[in-house]
Amino acid sequence: MAAAPTRAEALSLFRSLLRTARQFSDYNIREYTRRRAADAFRENRALGDAAAAAAVFADGKKQLEVAKRQAVVYSLYAPKAKSIMEMKLQ
């Protein structure tokens, strides 16, 4: 059975998720990925059970791989026009 992640490992995964989130060309997906990662880490920070912590960590790593791939896919098909949310109000 996998061991619970160390604090440094957890923070490193969090940082990688935020970095990957930043790479999404789509405004909504970018914001969601960042927000979901931040909320998930806050929700799971108090997991006392080592097995549960290990499972959550493994899932987080899987999510990171998905996000990395999809950030590339999104960038390949990014529309020319951005969301109005990325523009300053006139």
Binding site: F14, R15, F41
Partner: protein
């Protein structure tokens, strides 16, 4: 050791700029503040290096804009946890915001050490690629 760690970071970030105007235009398109900074900069300052005051000002702004931070508590001496009440996850988010503001990518080992404004100022001010 620090220099060894910086070398790949520098190599990664070196780009060929066709002309200063084009570079400024591109920067402006992606980041309006960059244009204001570029315009405000004295003509003689060719090296892109930021002044310490500028670094401090912008870092204070980053902290004040963070949703979890009480702007009135932000000072150049503030410690993220003790003075601003940020936890380790907030700190990661703050350091990420600093990266974005100065167009840097801070390696994990360095980022883990930045837990206060003095350390952040130190890191950014000494970073040759901070923009």
């Amino acid at each position: 050791m620090a220099a060894a760690a910086l070398r790949p970071a520098i190599l990664r970030r070196i780009r060929l700029s066709p002309s200063p105007a084009a570079a400024a235009g591109a920067a402006a398109a992606s980041q309006p503040h960059a244009l204001a900074r570029w315009l405000a900069r004295p003509m003689s300052s060719h090296d892109a290096h930021l002044t310490r005051d500028e670094v401090v000002d912008r870092l204070l702004d980053v902290l004040k804009c963070h949703p979890k931070v009480d702007p009135s508590k932000v000072s150049p001496e503030a410690h993220f946890e003790k003075d601003l009440g940020l936890d380790s996850l907030d700190t990661v988010e703050v350091v990420m915001a600093i990266e974005e503001e100065f167009k840097l990518e801070i390696p994990d080992q360095e980022a883990d050490k930045i837990d206060s404004l003095p350390l952040a100022i130190e890191y950014v001010a000494n970073h040759p690629m901070a923009a």
